[in-house]
Structure formats: C-alpha cells, structure tokens
C-alpha cells in the first residue's frame, strides 16, 4: 500500500469535483441562454404580423437533427474533459496505491462509476451531438462524487479473500458500463418527456425548442438503453458465475441479486413496451427512468440498508 499515492488520488478526486461543478454551471448557462432556432421562430413572428385575424400557423414539424454544439457548450465540454482526466487519474492512482482494481467499496465504486459514465458520455459525442445532456451528466457526476467522498470515504485496503477473483474485474466493470448507458438513456428519456409535454401543451423550458422531437430522442434513448441492457445481462451472468465460485450457488436471491434481477426485468419490460402498441413514447420513457432509478436505489439504499452477501470491507 502506498499512502502518498492514496492521498494524491483523493486530491485528484476533490479537484475533479470542483471542475465538474464548473462544467455544470457552464452547461446550465448554456441551456438557459439557448434561443429558438430561426426556423421555428420565424412562423411565430409572421402570425403576429397578420394581426387579429391571425390563423395559428401549424407548428413546425419536430426536427430530427440534433443541435450543433454552442460556444458555451464547447466550454462546458472542455471543462468536462479536464474534470474527467482528473477523475480518471484519481481512479488509476487509487488502484495503483493498493495494487488492485479500484472498485472494492462504495467510495471507489462511485469514483470509478462516475469516470466511466462521463467517459461514455464524452465518447458518445463522436456518435451523436449529445452535449445538451452535459448539465445532466455533470450534475450526476458532481452529486455522486460529493456524496461518496463526504459519506463513504474509506482508506484503501487489500481485498478480503471473497473478493480475490478475476470476476471482480469483469462483473463489476460490466455493471458500471451498464449503469453508464442506463444513465445516459435515462437522461434522454427525461428530455423526451419534457419535449413531449411541450409539444402537447405548448409550453415548456425554452431550450427544448433547440432540441429534436420526442420521437428522435426516444430512438436515441432506446439504443443506449439496449446497450445498457446487454451489459446488465452480462452483469447478471458473470455475477452468477462468480457466485457459484465464491458462495457455492449461482443464484440465491441475495438482496443485491434480487435488485439486479428487478432492474433486468424492468428493462426487459421497457424493450417489450417499445414493441407494444400504445406503450411506445412517454410510457416506455417512464419505464427507462424507473429502471435507472432502480439502478441508483440498488447502489445506494440496498447497499446501505439491506442485509446481504454483497457487503464487504465496511462499505
């Protein structure tokens, strides 16, 4: 064990919190100051010109294109990249300081999970312009890191015998990857619901006007959630293999197993909902959000208050 490196890791983690906070502020400002694109603003202005006999111009069909990144969005992205680099450094040095994977307790899990969630978010920018999720992702990162550092910080200790297995690398890493995709999917689903409400009620947050229609958002959310579901399936199966090595049975309805199963079932329901008439749209979006809420519940409440086999090393 290397206490100096461990202290350095904590310093990096705290620094990344500061930068995530900055990035969040910038992303929030970006959303707050976004104006409606010209295409949507123009017809509204025209109808005013006609005067009292105005016929309401039909609302422009929802766009399917994602907005290009704004100047503030770029600043937010840059800050997020720096925050992520600090975060990743904290993860790596924590692991090196104790010579094992850095996800053996709640603090480390949160630290690594935030790094992977933000990492997937950053990589996703090469796939689609999802910078409008920046405020959501940095807020999630900020909250998780603050809570983990303040409440769950523990000194780095070696792995107890039950955790000494290659499966801790595979099982936990895949679970975090699944969580990352579910997190992004849930963010898109929230925006989708806001967008759908704006479309039906005609009112809503202003920045939504710059975003594509609810259906486009839903399709993006679906593709992320499906990735999450695949990783979650692997989490279940790898967990079962590990359980059969460590505990002597591949499935035993341990509280954490139960909740992993519940989450899997919710997202299986979500995928079915997408293929069920009357359930596509806002209803399936709610399922995705409930599913991600269950993931968070599984990590926090189940770890802290439910008795089970997944409790090692104090927390």
């Amino acid at each position: 064990m290397n206490p100096t490196l461990e202290a350095f890791s904590l310093l990096m983690a705290v620094s990344s919190i500061a930068l995530y906070a900055l990035a969040f502020i910038v992303f929030a400002l970006d959303l707050g100051t976004r104006a409606a694109p010209a295409a949507e603003a123009a017809p509204a202005a025209a109808s005013v010109g006609i005067g009292s006999t105005a016929v309401l111009a039909p609302p422009a069909p929802p766009s399917t294109a994602l907005p290009s990144i704004t100047r503030w969005g770029r600043v937010g992205m840059a800050l997020t990249v720096i925050a992520w680099l600090l975060n990743a450094t904290a993860v790596i040095t924590r692991g090196v300081s104790v010579g094992r994977v850095p996800w053996a307790n709640m603090y480390e899990f949160a630290l690594t999970a935030v790094a992977i969630i933000v990492g997937v978010f950053l990589l996703a920018q090469f796939w689609r312009r999802l910078s409008f999720l920046g405020a959501y992702v940095t807020a999630l990162a900020l909250l998780s890191l603050v809570l983990a550092t303040v409440n769950f910080y523990v000194d780095a200790t070696p792995l107890p015998p039950p955790l000494q297995s290659v499966w801790i690398v595979v099982h936990v890493f895949v679970a975090i990857l699944g969580t990352a995709f579910f997190a992004l999917g849930a963010g898109l689903s929230v925006v989708q619901l806001l967008q759908a409400r704006r479309t039906t009620k005609g009112t809503g947050l202003k920045f939504l006007q710059t975003l594509p229609g609810a259906e486009t958002l839903e399709n993006l959310a679906y593709r992320l959630n499906v990735m999450g579901f695949v990783f979650w399936t692997f989490t279940l199966i790898f967990g079962a293999i590990w359980a059969s090595r460590a505990w002597g049975r591949y499935w035993g309805w341990d509280t954490k197993e139960v909740w992993t199963f519940i989450i899997w079932t919710i997202f299986a329901g979500y995928i079915h909902a997408r293929a069920t008439r009357g359930w596509r749209g806002s209803r399936s979006a709610w399922l995705a959000i409930i599913g991600f809420a269950a993931v968070l519940f599984n990590f926090t409440i189940v770890n802290l208050f439910f008795k089970g086999l997944h409790a090692y090393s104090g927390l």
């Binding site: 107890p160 579901f229 460590a246 002597g248 309805w253 329901g269 069920t276 009357g278 439910f306 086999l309």
Partner: protein
Amino acid sequence: MTDSSRPSDSSRPSDHIDAPEPGKITQPRLGFVGYLRFFWRQLTSMRTALFLLLLLAIAAIPGSLVPQVTSDPNGVIQFKDKNPGITPVLEFFQVFTTYSSVWFSAIYLLLFVSLIGCVIPRTKHHLDALRARPPKTPANLSRLEGFTTRTVEVDAETAIESARKLLRRQGYRTERYAPGSPGQAGLSVSAERGYLRETGNLVFHTALIGVLLGVGIGGGLGFTGQRVVVEGDAFVNGLGSYDSFNPGRFLDEQSLVPYSIRLDSFEPVYEETLTSNAIGQALDYTANVTTTVGTGEPEKATVKVNYPLPIGGTEVYLLGNGYAPVLTVRDPEGTVVFSQPTAFLPQDANLFSLGVIKLPDGLDEQVGIRSLLYPSAVELDSGALASSFPDLLNPVLTMEVYTGDLGLDNGAGTNAYVLDVSSLTEIAGRTADAPTIRLGVGDSIDLPNGLGSVELSEIPRFVSFDVHYDPAVPWVFTFAILVVAGLLTSLFIPRRRVWVAAVTNPDGSVTLEYAALARGDDPTLPRAVTAIADEHSQGLGLRVDS
C-alpha cells in the same frame, strides 16, 4: 413511418407494434371455444407479457425487504422475534419464502406460459419464412424508407441482374420479379436479409425456458450440506455426517459418492504491517485437506475461497472459519469426563468468539458454560477484554459457569450455540460468588463447589465446508450462453428488405428505384440503401444529367 404502412405479420401478438392496426371492432358472440381462444390471445399478447414482467419486478421486492429462509435463516428467526405482530401476516403470504411462494411462482409461470404461447407460432412462422421467397416488390417504392433513384444507360435486364448479384454478395436472399406477375409493373429484384434477428429472438426466449427448467430440475436432483470440521478431523460425504443437509426433492440419497475429507490444517494470512490501516484484515484463507474417494488412495488438496474443491461430482466450498478450543473437564478424582473441541462463533473481524459447552453427564451436577475467546486479548480502559488481532497472539478464554437442568433430557431440540440460563444457577461469573474464569492455553482451574476442574488444552481452528451438488449447472450455463447469443443477434442484426425496381424511360435509359423496409429498430437503414444505390449505379455507369 406509421404503423399501418408496416407489413402485416400474423405470427406476432395482435398488439405488437409491427402487427396491423386493429380495425373497427365488431364483437361476435363468443362460444366456449371462442372464450378460450379469446383468453389465450389475451395471455399471449404483448400487453400481458409486459404487465407480467413488471408485476414480476414488483413481486420480487418484498423478498429483498424481509429476510429469506433460503439465504438468511438466522435473519428470519431474528425478524420474527422482533416483529411478532406482523409475522403471521407475512407467513400467510409466504413472504419469508417469497421466491418459492405460490403467488410469485404463479406470476413467473404465467409469464412463461405467455412466452411459450408467443414463441411457438412465431417459430412456425419463422421456419416458413426461412423457406419462402422474398416478398413481391411493392407497387409504390417511394413510400418506403430510404427511397432513392438513379438513372443508368443500360437495359433493365442487365441492371436488375447486377443488382441481384450485388445484394447476394451482401448476404441478401434475392428473388427476381418480372413485369408479367400480378402487381409487378416492371422488372425488379426483391431481397431480404437478417433472418438471424428473428432466430436470435426465438433462441433468446426459448433459452430462458431452458434456464428456468435447469434451475428447477437442478434444485430437485441436487443437495447442499454444511459441515464444521476442526483441524485434524475428517468428515464423510454421507447423510448422517452433515450438520445440516438440504436434499432436493428427487435426490436419491444412496447416490452420494462416498468420499472423506480430512482437514489437515487451516492457514489464514492476516495483514501484519503495524502501520497499515488494514491491520488484522484477512488476506488469504487456505484449507489443506486430505481427500479419499471410495477405496482410493488419499490425496492432498487445498480449498480456498473462490476456489472450491471438485470431488465426487460435488463442489466443496470454504465458507467460514474460527477457533474450536479444546476444553478438558475432569471430575474431582481427576477422571476426564469431557475433552473435545467446541466450535466458537466468531463475533467480529478479530475473531472475538462465543462458545457454549454443555456437560449433562459426568459431574455431580449438569454444567453449562458460556465462554468467550479473545485470540489476541487486550484489556480496555474499562477493564473489559477485547481482541486486537485475529491470530492467536495472546489467547484468553473466559467462562461463566452455570449448574442446573440443561433441558437436554426432555427430547426437545435445542440450539447448540445457545445456553438458556433462565433455569440455571450461575456458580462462576458476574452474578456468582466466584469470579468469571480466565484461562490461557495450558491453564487449568478448579470449578467452584468442588465440581471438578477445567483445562484449556489447545486452540485448533475449524472451518465450515459447504458441499454442493447440482447436476444441472452445465445445462443452465449452456442456456445462459444461448440467452446472451440470442439477445445479441436479436438486438443488433438488422432485418431488412430491399427492393430495386427498373423503369425504362422513353429515351431508352433506365431509372432504378431503390427502397427498403426494416423490421424493428434500424436507424442506419436509409444510409444502407444509399450505399447500395451508389455502389450499384456506379458499377453500371451512372448517367450524369446536365
């Protein structure tokens, strides 16, 4: 694209998003068979599957809130003690055995019936589709996805034949349609690929049934047994030898392979660096054993956490460990009346442990001893003892001694780890004249009232082994792999139909129409059509319009 433009697919449940929109409902009178059919259709509908899935998720929650008999039997006992009011209600609803309860079983069985009812007709339909020709080219391709046109200077026959070859190379199954056939305006090729998507979907759902059957059958044919073994002792794989034994319903108890496992030594490794913040933490556990299968030769082996020992078709797991002090009790004449190890239950990470010794025979009175072991004893400021390290650096054993009726003679089962002192008299300890007894290894002390003496002879370690036998594990594993394989193919292989139709223009050139249709989500479809159109038309020599 709206739902109504999707092709009808009779194999799917009627409320599947790919199924045709229901028309105006005219309700005919249903006979008995009609009602059966109606309920079957309801059970196998997407909406029911969705409802049952979500119900299953909700139904699994209570079992995580209340301890379960299977995973936490002691927790169940404690819970019942603490909540006597609600216990009968929970027992009535089988909440302590949620996952084998009637209501939980009903939900997943209905779900699987619904699943089977969905999978069977779809399998049949899919097998037909695998043999069928790609469907006729729709009359109006411009309504479909990715519609695009190219104009080329070759005749229709050449263009369509080269399109067919191109699509074949890309893994499409192709069929040419000539103008003569009904509904076909011109020469065209119809192509379809991605049958694996539906295959994967069916494999996924069928394999889930396999997993469920494997879990059920394996549980029925197997067994689990627990046994505490002290260093130097052995146990045999037989019914009477286990401390607890849970056979599956269909286990043939004669079929247990006769083997014995002797615990030669148990070697824990603890963090010893004084400056470490993990001092005392276990770093490794190794149980060195000698195994003998049947009449074979003894063999040396090790059992570690995460590395079970396979033997005689079973797996032997190292699950717990602790100390089993050997106490030797002599009567006043010096005759040994008791001398054996007693497993003490560890109470904390430094193996401060609690043990109970019951001596119903041999001494003038029945004697019960409640004993605490401090492997590395330190005295706290309060004068109380504590253990500061899990190894035996300074072992101290304390004993509170009771006399009276131990309640072992009336035939009622008692917990070996609990001493009920309510009808006993304390003769050494906090409420007695004589103080609590303290012993180091090798120490001996006289018991009060001239009962005899007790000696702490040695402190060997014990381990608890779990022995598991589940013949269905390879099957469950195989089906789990099929589940994943089916899931991946059903989610990521696109199922596409692509059409290329040729329209001969008055000037002799040919306009080629390209369009496609996806089954399920397929966001890259328009791009794929454009790519096909580009490759195809460039191969033919695209006419450049002025």
